[in-house]
């Protein structure tokens, strides 16, 4: 289903939970709404489902405004954070509920439920009650129940929040495959960036009721459009005055400009490891953390603490060691704009034009 949202606003009392939100979702895509808790993601999801009424704005499914349609008529499936399984019904009855309500024939219900039970790998658990199922199984029942009436849009509110970290990984890829196989447009809410990056085709970053950025996980990572997105996605160190970083002097044209530096923007090593020695700066290794596949290195440069990774293949560093640091690029921002800038000393000071 093609979903479009225009100028959506929602207040809870004095609290402006959703502020002028606009977006469009192509049919068949899996979208992640990512952002800190209390940022308005769940409110957006609930308005799409019809569980909450927007104060203003339009929700359009298939080119038709559905603002006045109750949840029963929107053709959506909703998976709740705590699954909200009907606790006095068996897994089978839970999955069959939506079909029974639609007065489908007994045989049709049986066929559809059996199909979903197989699809979700719940065979053998049909007659159990929710309290007799594990967390992962409950979640599968919740998916199956939401999918049973063949909705055109699947909405998932923090689908993995209540699950053990270990099973979560497994369920993520399972969900991704399942949704691909069913081919249903889906939107899920999460506050976990790994989850969003791993599962979603496209991510929308939501903060304080606003959509900060929408794009593929790679686009968002590579080119964050707002300082919030830059800090929220990936790791980074904030430098209050960008000019203090070597190679970024005069950045922002004299205006006070801040810099965000990601670990992978930084290279550390002995001076001879660098081609452009003039662009490096001296620092001291403060701490080394072994991360299994690489070293996490904390260096102090010019009074700033920076973190970066270093391959295990390279010469092992020691805490306290003097070291050269090259900042390849930084994400810069001031009151007016934000942009990504390369280290300007990396250019050969005396270029030879051929």
């Amino acid at each position: 289903m093609h979903v479009e949202v225009r100028g959506l606003n929602k207040h809870f009392g004095d609290f402006h939970a959703v502020k002028d939100v606009n977006f469009e979702i192509t049919k068949g895509h899996l979208i992640g709404l990512l952002g800190p808790s209390g940022g308005g993601k769940t409110s957006i999801l609930r308005m799409l489902a019809g569980l909450e009424t927007p104060d203003s704005g339009e929700i359009i499914f298939h080119g038709q405004t559905v603002n006045n349609l109750p949840p029963q008529e929107r053709g959506i499936g909703f998976v709740f954070q705590n699954y909200a399984l009907f606790k006095h019904m068996t897994a089978y009855e839970n999955i069959a509920f939506g079909l029974k309500v639609k007065k489908a024939s007994k045989a049709a219900i049986r066929d559809r439920v059996t199909e979903l039970v197989e699809l979700t790998g719940l065979k053998g658990f049909e007659s159990r009650y929710p309290h007799q199922l594990s967390g992962g199984q409950r979640q599968r029942v919740a998916f199956a129940r939401a999918l049973a009436p063949e909705p055109q849009l699947l909405l998932l509110d923090e689908p993995f929040a209540a699950i053990d970290a270990k099973i979560r990984q497994e369920l993520r890829s399972w969900l991704r495959e399942l949704i691909e196989r069913v081919g249903i447009t889906s939107i899920f809410v999460t506050h976990d960036q790994d989850e969003a990056i791993e599962v979603a085709d496209e991510i929308m970053i939501i903060n304080q009721g606003r959509v900060e950025q929408k794009g593929t996980p790679w686009d968002i990572y590579k080119e964050p459009q707002t300082p919030f997105v830059a800090t929220f996605i990936g790791e980074s160190t904030l430098i209050e005055n960008a000019s203090e970083v070597k190679g970024f002097k005069g950045a922002g044209g004299g205006k006070p400009t801040k810099a965000l530096i990601r670990p992978e923007y930084i290279e550390v090593g002995s001076l001879h490891e660098f081609k452009m020695a003039s662009a490096t700066e001296q620092g001291i290794v403060k701490h080394l953390h072994f991360r299994g596949s690489e070293w996490l290195v904390e260096v102090e440069v010019n009074g700033h603490k920076l973190t970066t990774y270093r391959s295990l293949e390279k010469e092992t560093l020691q805490p306290g060691q003097d070291i050269s640091v090259l900042v390849h690029r930084a994400y810069l921002f001031n009151d007016e704009r934000s942009w990504i800038q390369e280290n300007n000393l990396k250019e050969d000071p005396m270029p030879v034009f051929i």
């Binding site: 029963q72 006095h88 509920f97 939506g98």
Partner: protein, 265 residues
């Protein structure tokens, strides 16, 4: 030390509950079973028991219906402003704080023959005070919080998500209520019903004031007991009281049983 405490506890129970109950039972049979039977088969006793039964049935039905709806509104309704909800919520408890006699007085003042509303109703031929409707209203007033207060915490505890899930699956309000909400609250409602029956069975003060205690017309079992005592007919009073007590104890047992079932589910 331990023995002493247990001993005192038994003593208190014996003096305060068991001895009076036993004394009343023997009192009711002081003139043999025939005396007890005669006290019960008096026409006024039969009428009074019938009246009590009628009040119990009508009040329980109305209070269950409105109590459950009110609990649903107070917990779920988003169309009631938050502050108003808080206010309504605290008003629900007021009948607890009102002496039953005052509860009866209120209805006499509001709907009695001297009041404006009472005159209007009398004009259309409907007598409320000193008649059956007044007794029902008085008992409804007294029993109102019982159902609401039993159902509300359960509704709060189960939360609205299951109901929302049902609505996204296409279920209408009616279906959602019966298939999703009701199974979760039915034991609480059952409990509320038992409490309401017990309270309306035993209501005395409010009914006494509102009914006027007219023999063979508005007299209930409890007000008959009162009248018998006033007439120094203690044996007769004991007979009716014993029947009431037997019902109450039955309800108490039912309540214990329900509590256990409620715990299971």
């Amino acid at each position: 030390m331990r023995r002493l405490w247990i001993g005192i506890t038994y003593l208190v129970f014996f003096l305060l509950i068991i001895a009076p109950l036993g004394k009343m039972t023997t009192g009711a049979f002081s003139q043999g079973f025939d005396g007890f039977w005669a006290a019960l088969t008096r026409p006024e006793a039969q009428h009074a028991l019938l009246m009590t039964g009628l009040v119990v049935v009508v009040v329980t039905l109305l209070n269950t219906l409105f109590g459950v709806m009110m609990a649903l509104y107070l917990v779920r309704a988003n169309w009631i402003n938050r502050r108003l909800k808080g206010l309504l919520n605290s008003i629900v408890d007021l009948p607890y704080a009102v002496s039953p006699v005052i509860g009866g007085l209120m209805i006499v003042l509001l709907l009695g023959p001297d009041s404006a509303l009472g005159a209007i109703f009398e004009g259309i031929g409907l007598k409320i005070v000193y008649a059956f409707p007044g007794m029902v209203i008085a008992t409804l007033f007294v029993t109102f919080p019982l159902m609401v207060r039993e159902v509300m915490p359960v509704l709060q505890e189960i939360g609205s998500q299951q109901e929302e899930a049902a609505s996204t699956l296409g279920a209408r309000a009616w279906t959602t209520f019966w298939r999703v909400t009701w199974p979760s609250i039915r034991w609480a409602v059952m409990y509320g019903v038992i409490l309401t029956v017990a309270r309306s069975l035993g209501e005395f003060g409010a009914v006494l004031v509102v009914s006027g205690n007219i023999m063979n017309k508005t007299q209930t079992a409890t007000t008959l007991v009162y009248q018998d005592v006033e007439n120094f007919n203690v044996t007769a009073a004991g007979g009716v009281a014993l029947v009431l007590a037997a019902f109450s104890i039955g309800l108490l047992l039912l309540m214990e049983w329900t509590k256990r079932r409620k715990g299971v589910h």
